[in-house]
């Protein structure tokens, strides 16, 4: 282990690690990110082996093809990608640092791509590793490291590298006020997602979150969408009810939790409970019972007041 740690990486100031021509061509934000990454002249460990690549929202598709739409949907701003080699490890690594609009969107794209079966790590706000890949988010940055060949020494080296990058980004952001306080009982770990648009596949539902729950063998989910005003939320709820009525079944209206809504079902999710509370919609999909759905929705609304109700 000591060998690995000793060989991993020595941080090099960006100004000393880049050719003058390349530095002139980079934006200030890209230079800042590059300063967090291994340089060309590192004495030991990972060394940058190719010129860095920088992409914006307009040309991200050149780098990640069809996945670019999803990133742009999460407020992608700039990507800095570098390739490094470590002679002692005989490995090559790529480090991709995506700068998103804010911490919530960085969390959003991270959670969208998160593999819940991976091994989670304490790096940045949250991270995980899979063979030859390590991914984490911190602040407004989403960071992916990939190395070949895979192996325990390379994996250990990536962990140290990720930790160093994360420390340079800064302390992890606290999204406690941004993410609804979903009740913990039965909640599937690492399952919260942020959905900036197309919540529940509906073009008119946006600014949402979703979390998975388990109850025995049943896996179900709670989804939210937020609006600027209660009237907009009421209109959206009505529209969603019309959709459910046409594609499935609306059983009855309910007066609570929140300001009420309806109980129904759809062909994919089965039982559906949808309510409005101020400018928010909360929908339980596929819950084991109406009661379980209502109790969890009630607990959520009790734990996190809507924005209109916040002081």
């Amino acid at each position: 282990m000591l060998t690995v740690l000793g060989a991993v990486w020595s941080v090099e100031a960006f100004a000393g690690g880049q050719t003058p021509g390349a530095t002139q061509a980079l934006s200030g934000t890209a230079k800042q990110v590059l300063a967090w990454l291994p340089g060309e002249r590192s004495a030991t460990g990972w060394k940058r082996s190719k010129p860095p690549q920088v992409f914006g929202a307009g040309n991200l598709w050149e780098f990640i093809d069809g996945a670019a739409d999803t990133y742009v949907g999460y407020g992608f701003e700039e990507l800095v990608s570098v390739t490094c080699t470590d002679a002692q490890l005989g490995a090559e690594a790529t480090i991709d640092v995506y700068r998103m609009a804010d911490a919530l969107n960085a969390f959003g794209i991270y959670a969208q791509e998160r593999n819940p079966r991976a091994t989670f790590l304490s790096v940045g706000a949250e991270g995980y590793e899979a063979p030859n890949v390590l991914t984490f988010w911190n602040g407004r940055y989403y960071v992916k490291l990939r190395a070949v060949p895979a192996g325990p020494r390379v994996a250990a080296s990536l962990r140290v590298l990720a930790q160093r990058i994360s420390e340079r980004i800064g302390p992890p952001a606290n999204l406690a006020r941004a993410i609804p306080a979903f009740p913990p009982t039965g909640q599937v770990p690492h399952s919260i997602r942020y959905l900036p648009r197309d919540v529940l596949g509906q073009a008119y539902l946006s600014n949402g979150f979703e979390v998975q729950y388990t109850a025995g063998a049943t896996r179900w989910r709670l989804t939210t969408a937020a609006f600027g005003a209660a009237e907009q939320a009421a209109t959206a709820l009505n529209r969603y009810k019309t959709f459910v009525a046409s594609s499935g079944h609306v059983a009855r209206e309910i007066a609570s939790p929140g300001e009420g809504g309806f109980v129904g079902s759809d062909p994919y999710n089965g039982l559906l409970v949808a309510v409005r509370a101020g400018g928010r919609l909360v929908v339980a999909l596929g819950a084991p019972s109406e009661r379980a759905a209502m109790e969890t929705i009630g607990a959520l609304l009790g734990r996190s007041p809507s924005r209109q109700e916040e002081p």
Binding site: G58, N59, G66, T70, T94, P131, L200, A203, S247, P267
Partner: protein
């Protein structure tokens, strides 16, 4: 009064209202949605009859997949690179497994000139697990012909074909192929076709794209399945085309109808993240000819962008310049400047080009690049403009 079936009426009403069109359950039985795929074709020699409208990426809600498949969409395109997309599809796929043809793709950076068979098979297993299935119908090389991922040596790596053979033997893959919309699309897809490497090809094309016809003809002659993608890439290029999209018009549908009516492809994969988009695009299924309104929409689009728009897969101007101006790069930087509002980025990229190879030469040049352009893009005029815009910075 023209006779109008109930379904046609419902369809027209729903589309006018912009609401998804489904039919309520009657007596507990689930009727199929009213909008259905209306035309199918053989997908090459695979034996699969594929609907003319197929599903692309972008879905985050599994119920949208459920709806798509109940509407008769029977091919879906996914890939390891589309973060989380395989998992979302995997939640629905078991219910429809025998009814849906799954096209999956390895992560592009994985496929290098030195990648091993074992690494490719391991990545396939990861994808199968996410997709919740034991096999994919087609495993593709993703984004070949794209300089970012390397040259043709990348797809000439024997390990790829050994991995495909092994995966077929293990019944994890039924067919193989490649996707491309890069500059070297014609060369690299063509190489795969000539060397009998692909069962299916997935190609970037739209109503402004010409030049892919010989490639498609060659593919068809060999019984290779052909799938179109990027049929509306024009929209993504932010060329203010959305301004043409009014209540009374649907230029997006016209773009898809052109692909369907052209009969160049067996199917087209279309990104549809919402129920509303599924309905919008399914409404044109079965199109075999364009209506007058469609022609009008396409003419408007073409007039707006054709003289400026470099088509997917085209590299006709490469190497034409006596001054070694990287024509395609300069035009792309100009696009960043004008259409993506990335002026600084465009200028920085232009600055990286050696002074002797910048477009300052173009004003007095006979422009062999323009003569080579098969689409009539006003190359010289745009290069001169680009030099003025990007140099001023």
């Amino acid at each position: 009064m023209t006779r109008c079936s109930r379904r046609a009426f419902l369809r027209a009403s729903a589309l006018a209202a912009g609401t998804p069109l489904t039919v309520a359950r009657v007596g507990g039985a689930q009727e199929p949605p009213a909008l259905q795929v209306r035309r199918q074709k053989p997908l090459g020699k695979t034996g699969w009859m594929v609907g003319d409208i197929s599903g692309g990426s972008g879905q985050t809600e599994p119920a949208v997949f459920d709806y798509m498949f109940r509407c008769g969409i029977n091919l879906v395109d996914t890939g390891a690179q589309y973060g989380g997309h395989e998992e979302v599809l995997g939640k629905v796929l078991p219910k429809f497994r025998e009814k849906v043809f799954v096209v999956d793709k390895w992560d592009p950076p994985l496929v290098t000139a030195t990648v091993t068979k074992a690494a490719l098979l391991e990545a396939l297993d990861v994808s199968l697990k996410k997709l919740n299935t034991t096999y994919v119908d087609c495993m593709m090389l993703h984004s070949i012909g794209h300089p970012r991922y390397g040259g043709i040596e990348r797809i000439q790596n024997p390990a790829i074909y050994e991995a495909w053979d092994e995966a077929k033997r293990l019944r994890k893959v039924r067919f193989t192929g490649a996707s491309s919309h890069g500059q070297k699309m014609l060369d690299e897809i063509g190489w795969g076709i000539d060397n009998n490497r692909f069962d299916i090809v997935l190609i970037g094309a739209n109503f402004l794209t010409h030049g892919v016809e010989p490639l498609l003809k060659k593919a068809r002659a060999k019984g290779i399945g052909t799938i179109a993608m990027k049929t509306m890439t024009l929209y993504q290029s932010n060329l203010n085309i959305r301004a043409l999209q009014g209540k009374e018009t649907n230029a997006r549908q016209a773009c898809i109808k052109w692909i369907l009516a052209s009969d160049l492809f067996d199917t087209a994969v279309i990104r549809m993240p919402t129920f509303q988009q599924v309905d919008e695009y399914l409404a044109v299924s079965g199109t075999t000819r364009l209506a007058a309104d469609d022609h009008r929409h396409l003419e408007l689009l073409a007039a707006a962008i054709s003289p400026q728009y470099c088509r997917p897969g085209c590299s006709a101007c490469l190497g034409a310049c006596p001054h070694d101006v990287p024509v395609a790069d300069v035009l792309r930087y100009k696009m960043y400047f004008e259409n993506y509002r990335e002026q600084k980025l465009a200028m920085r990229k232009y600055e990286r080009i050696a002074v002797s190879e910048r477009a300052s030469h173009c004003a007095g040049c006979e422009a062999p690049c323009e003569q080579r352009c098969p689409y009539g893009v006003r190359v010289r005029e745009r290069l001169v403009e680009a030099d003025r815009q990007l140099r001023l910075a």
